[in-house]
């Protein structure tokens, strides 16, 4: 029926607005730094079978695509007969949620005239979940904090006070964490209110027909986009730093008509430390990377995600088995798109960029008074990004997150929170990989405790021994480095001290270059020299520049 096509399109638009409102409510009321300042969250609407039909464009791919799978687990674990109006379900299970204990996922059923019509779900990274805190040093998930299996946060509107008390007793910032639990529940309510209004306006009883339309349309557009990629089997491998041992990642990407499979067989086994990745998170980022290149215009939903068949053998570091530690699964997770894109580059050479810094350089800092002085410990979390890989016809982006979608925080705001001084946060000259198109620059950060304080930090940095590689003749970006101002080299992973009067110096990696640097246009080399993005020596040696 033609008129219903337009109506479906209008309702589809409206659903995006509905989930945007859901996400906005969460951002504005959340306490977690990563949610409010950095946008580390997701929100979405699911049909009654647990298929995601709309998702807020705010949010970061690891959350979004992982959360897309989670609602199915909730339906199964709670049991269809046990789902009531005004219920709210919760979990932070890394294997059924979004990959580590710090992420809380909440799901609320939506009812209309007494009948279940769908679910709202949202995920946010909370400030603390107990255990060792946010860092990679635990050897089992049990050390990483409180585990909340899929259960009811609220039944028929009644919040489980036992659960709230249990959470309060297990986390370092109980008011903020419990505040965030309520924010998550409230954002689902906000979404549902708006959905009901839409159903009133269009006078329909459920979203089944709409859901089918959205998922079929998106699925079809995605499959058609896959079919346009030259068929074949493409392989790629990539080595990264890991924690205790280097990590080998390997993928075999097969494209055959409308089907796509990416298989990570051959990837290293699990680590003893929290860099392991649950498979759901690997799928989330692999799918994101492929989708950016193949079908960027198709909205993210169950229909557009399903055509990407992504598997990793259980027990490898990208499909870690319980009870592996997984606290900083984002580091390898953020590197997964480089692995799959490297394979896809063979099929789509004019689309896929070079490798980038990719993994965020998050710094979790605990600053406390030096011995003999009064005061409490302050926790600070900073998000920082290196350079992205050069694109086939444009330079890479300097100090910009990819694939993650998070933002950095104002240094002035950070310094208001705790007794630290950030002496430097600016571009790292010369760090972009040389190429006809240059990789994005990394950045340099220097942090010192204020007088009378010292701090320790949890390192979760990669690409120190394995820089971002260039593509098609482009050079690698500069590798990362972690040291103290006195020159002492520090490790890329794990908890380390920075004494009073010392500065922590982080040099974030640059992105890889694309194409032969000797083909770079002279005016671009000159512009880079004037701006100081490259040194004269680099201009001569890498680019063959002559005055």
């Amino acid at each position: 029926m033609p008129s219903s096509v337009i109506d479906f399109q209008i309702m589809w638009n409206r659903l995006i607005a509905v989930v945007e409102e859901q996400a906005t409510t969460l951002i504005r009321t959340a306490f977690s730094t990563s949610v409010r300042e950095a946008g580390d969250l997701s929100a979405g609407l699911f049909d009654r079978r647990g298929r995601m039909i709309a998702q807020a464009v705010t949010g970061t791919p690891g959350h979004v695509n992982a959360m897309a799978e989670s609602t199915g687990h909730f339906i199964r674990e709670i049991g269809p007969d046990n789902i009531f109006e005004n219920d709210v379900y919760i979990t932070n299970d890394p294997w059924m949620g979004t990959g580590h204990l710090h992420d809380i996922t909440m799901v609320s059923p939506s009812f209309r005239a007494g009948a279940l019509i769908g679910f709202f779900a949202c995920t946010a990274h909370v400030v603390d979940i107990g255990g060792r805190g946010f860092g990679p040093d635990g050897n089992e998930v049990y050390e990483e904090g409180l585990q909340i299996p899929i259960m009811k946060f609220a039944e028929r509107g009644e919040v489980s006070q036992s659960l709230v008390r249990l959470v309060r007793a297990n986390v370092r910032e109980p008011d903020q964490v419990v505040g965030d639990l309520y924010s998550l529940a409230a954002c689902n309510v906000a979404g549902d209110r708006r959905l009901q209004e839409m159903l009133d306006e269009f006078d329909i009883a459920d979203i089944e027909g709409l859901s089918d339309y959205i998922l079929e349309t998106s699925g079809k557009a995605t499959r058609e986009a896959i079919a346009r990629v030259p068929a074949g089997t493409y392989r790629n491998t990539m080595e990264v730093d890991g924690y205790d041992a280097p990590v080998h990642m390997e993928v075999r990407l097969t494209i055959d008509g409308e089907t796509l499979t990416a298989d990570f067989a051959g990837t290293s086994g699990m680590s003893k430390f929290g860099v392991n990745v649950p498979e759901v998170y690997t799928r989330a980022y692999a799918c994101y990377g492929l989708k950016c290149a193949i079908a960027p215009d198709v909205p993210n939903n169950h229909g557009s995600l399903i055509p990407f068949g992504i598997v990793a053998p259980e027990g490898c570091i990208l499909a870690a088995r319980r009870p592996a530690p997984v606290s900083i699964r984002h580091v390898l997770g953020h590197l997964v798109p480089d692995v799959v894109l490297g394979a896809l580059a063979q099929a789509m050479p004019a689309v896929v960029p070079a490798e980038g810094a990719s993994a965020l350089w998050n710094v979790q800092i605990a600053a406390r008074p030096v011995e003999g002085r009064e005061g409490r410990t302050t926790q600070l979390l900073m998000f920082n990004s290196g350079g992205t890989g050069a694109r086939p016809s444009i330079d890479g982006l300097s100090a910009t997150a990819f694939p993650s979608g998070v933002k950095t925080m104002s240094v002035e705001a950070t310094e208001q929170i705790g007794p630290i001084v950030v002496w430097r946060k600016d571009l790292r000259e010369g760090s972009g990989g040389a190429g006809e198109f240059r990789g994005g620059l990394g950045q340099t950060i220097e942090i010192e405790a204020r007088e009378g304080y010292e701090f320790h930090f949890n390192a979760m940095f990669d690409r120190i021994r394995n820089p971002a590689r260039g593509r098609r003749g482009g050079h690698a970006g500069a590798a990362g480095a972690v040291r103290l101002s006195d020159g002492t080299q520090l490790r890329g992973k794990g908890r380390q001290q920075v004494g009073a009067g010392q500065r922590l110096v982080l040099s974030l990696p640059g992105g890889g270059g694309f194409g032969d640097p000797r083909k770079r246009e002279r005016k671009n080399i000159e512009a880079d020299l004037i701006a100081g993005y490259i040194s004269r020596e680099q201009a001569v040696l890498d680019y063959g520049f002559e005055d």
Binding site: P2, I6, T33, R36, D175, S385, L397, Q416, A531
Partner: protein, 696 residues
Amino acid sequence: MKEMKVRVGVDIGGTFTDVALEHANGLSTCKVLTNYHQPEQAILDGIIKATEQAGLNLGDIGQVIHGTTLVTNSLIERRGAKLAFITTEGFRDVVEMRSENRFEQYDLNLRLPTPLVARQDRYTLKERMAADGSVLLPLDVEEVKTLAARIVERGYEAVAVGLMHAYANGAHERDVERILKAAAPQLSVSLSSVVSPQMREFERFNTVIANAYVQPQVASYLTRLVQRLRDIGIGAQVFMMHSGGGLISIETAAAQPVRLLESGPAGGAIFAAQYANSHGIAKVLSFDMGGTTAKICLVEDGAPKTANSFEVARTYRFKKGSGMQVSTPVVEMVEIGAGGGSIASVDTMGRIQVGPRSAGSEPGPACYQRGGEEPTVTDANLLLGRLDPDNFAGGDIRLSVSLAESAVDARLTRGAGVARAEAAFGITEIVDENMANAARAHTIENGRDVEAFTMVAFGGGAPLHACRQCEKLGIKAVLIPPGAGVGSAIGFLKAPFSYEATRGFFQRLTNFNSDDVNAMVQQLEREARAFVSAAAGGAPTSIKLVAFMRYSGQGWEIPVVLSHRAFTPSDAAMIENAFNDAYRRLFGRTIEGLGIEITNWSLTVATDLKPAARVKRLASERKAHVSRTRHFFDAALRRTVEAVEVRRSDMVPGARVAGPAVIIEDETSTIVTDAFEAIGQQDGSILLIRKDRGNA
């Protein structure tokens, strides 16, 4: 000050320069084409034309009030000064690194906007303030002198100074200015601690850079304007509209031109506010739809809602994050790429998409017959019978139905798999949906319920879409004021003199220091008062004090209005209550056990306005004269309906017409859908109200 009977408001927009002349016998308005090379020429032409219309002499004009989009244009088109930026060592690239994220998640070829100041023009100094304003590293005067010499040698026209934590202590910035001025007295210098003393370096640096970038140009333009006015015999004082919805002196405007960025839209909001006041409407949603964009603003208790930061010059589909974040007081406005010229297309999933790309006025919609081949919102309105092809813009432009049809057929019907009529309906319905979603989101973000608002609709496109917007939003009444084509210029005449002073000043309520706060507030008041009295003399004023507050640990501050008086230590409890009330209004609850803090403060001094003369709302009395009947497609009914056509001039006070109806005038048409009826009001506005309001 002498009695000012005759006042003139002038708004320079992208296409037209609008003039509104207020005199003893009413209002004379006119539009002239904007002159990009000599903007002041269009002003003179417009003023002369309006004065002649009113039968007055130029010498009768007692006051000129001006707002302009030229400041924004010069940022967008990068036509500002040769500029240097001086900052703290280690922070040279803040304006280039931005928020370190991508505003579009799936675009591998994303380009980020380049900063106004290239890296080679950004200089650093070894100095550092701490978060509490104490000096961590003193300024090295010799280093500044050396730098000043380089700045002079390299021939910069303007310098922006933005040092870390300068909002907490601006001493180093002032020292830098002193040394620069000693080296080059003519150099234009802008300080972040003066232009935008608020926490968050990226926004503050952007703001001071934007200010310095346009300063020499704006200053010389304003000087020229005043001189040209004198030359033709207008000796009147000239005042500028600022983005926050008030007037400032020419001198203030020339020093802080960044405050002028949104002056035009602010005039529009004041225009809507004036009608809210005279009709006694407490909650108004101002809806201004033109050819390219639609702007939405909330007006409560007669005052447009303001904010302390906004984004200008978005480079990517009006997307949040793709422009330049500027922190300066502003009338808070949501602007989306939805207007009469917005282009419709079909995406890879066969869905109709509308905007933000616009056909503008050249080539314009396909039906304009100027070579436009893509279907636009105007084309769809034509096909749906909402526009009359023979009587558009007072008959000046003949619209071609067949060109609109072929544009829709060629670009939409096949791709979307729908018939032509369906496609036309789809275009208007999607654009209405986009605007309604933006309006709904904006009211929700402000903790308000959109259904409680009355719409004031102006701009060429708004009266066509107002009823459908209200149907979608659940709004029950719309006011369509007269003179809506020059709304901003009229708004200028209704604005108070005002200045908003802001300061980043961190306070935890547990350590509330009333002495420090009082000293800071007094300083803000002195600052704001000085600017206001420079323009308004000793006119009576009011003060509004706002604290931007949050729970410790949150990153989003909410504005909390505090009574302006000397605080005592025990006032922490009063401030906490005010915060809790505001938080509950926005989020429906408060949170126990968390500390509360204040980050930024703002104090506005504004002259008191004469209370608006109340317009008695007229109920329906008699039927308006009907010119003829025609047909249009009613979106809510999903069918074409027979409608009566009424001339706007026949909508005299008390005249009533029930929808479906079309009210026509030269500038626009008002579509009264089946759900609404229209009643002419005493002040020339048209009130549209839902027929079923009694049952609502």
